[in-house]
């Protein structure tokens, strides 16, 4: 067995032996993936997964390296890029990915991609 194969077994044993915790965070990530356009918050996540919200926040960050909200924002921006490429308008995209305010969508999109939604839209028509 190679060094790397042994390391995989060691890491699984040391870091990923709590199946309940894994099921909880994987379930939450799937929920976000399927419902990113809805109004989501930690209280809702906590009710869905039957875990206190601060424990859930810690668990998600422990396994995915980011908070559920950070993951949600990245997911929405990733989907927004797809929608803009598909020809959806900026305001419809903003609404479709679950942002309530166009200005916060604009600024988050710019921070995450380096382009405003308008500039990103134009760059895809070149």
């Amino acid at each position: 067995m190679s060094f790397y194969n042994k390391e995989i077994l060691r890491i699984k044993e040391d870091c990923y032996s709590n199946q309940w915790q894994l099921d909880t965070v994987i379930g939450l990530r799937n929920y976000i993936n399927n419902n990113f356009s809805e109004k989501l918050n930690l209280d809702l996540f906590s009710r869905i997964r039957f875990v206190s919200k601060y424990h859930l926040l810690r668990l998600f960050k422990r396994y995915y390296g980011q908070t559920p909200n950070q993951y949600l924002i990245n997911k929405r921006i990733e989907k927004a890029k797809e929608y803009i490429k598909d020809g959806l308008s900026i305001s419809d995209t903003c609404h479709e990915v679950g942002f309530e305010s166009l200005s916060s969508f604009n600024s988050l999109f710019k921070r995450k991609t380096g382009f405003t939604p308008r500039a990103y839209q134009k760059s895809n028509f070149r």
């Binding site: 190679s2 060094f3 790397y4 890491i11 870091c15 990923y16 894994l22 965070v25 994987i26 995915y64």
Partner: protein
């Protein structure tokens, strides 16, 4: 600053281009001669052609320490780099059908499923599906 390119050492650029385009469905982006038979040769993911470029670097042929390092990683089974996939099992089966050999079959490890294959150019490569 932006991250636009990452590199991977390959022992034969033409063979690497064949593997990365024919088996992995990557697309050649830049191919420029840089002397002594070497090329500045980059590919991008077929699914994300505006994503980072992967430089197929002929370093093991030209710089002995790279060859030593690459071989040490390979002998230990350690992947040189990894690529994301939306379905590790499906990708594994697709690559097996194309004759690609795996040192790690699809394996769940916490919040990811991984598999490791041989790129035939001196490297193990890991594919990862985030669960």
């Amino acid at each position: 600053m932006k991250i636009k390119l990452v590199s991977i050492p390959v022992d034969n650029q033409e063979k690497a281009l064949e593997f990365y385009t024919k088996k992995l469905n990557f697309v050649k982006k830049i191919d420029v001669p840089v002397g002594d038979g070497n090329r500045w040769l980059t590919v991008v993911s077929g699914e994300e052609q505006d994503g980072p470029e992967l430089l197929l670097e002929p370093a093991p042929v030209n710089f002995e320490p790279t060859k030593v390092y690459q071989k040490a990683l390979f002998d230990a089974g350690i992947p040189y780099t990894q690529f994301n996939t939306s379905n590790a099992q499906k990708e594994y089966e697709r690559l097996i059908d194309l004759g690609v050999t795996f040192s790690v079959k699809p394996t769940e490890m916490g919040t990811v499923k991984i598999a490791v294959f041989n790129d035939t150019c001196g490297n193990h490569i890991q594919i990862v599906e985030v669960l």
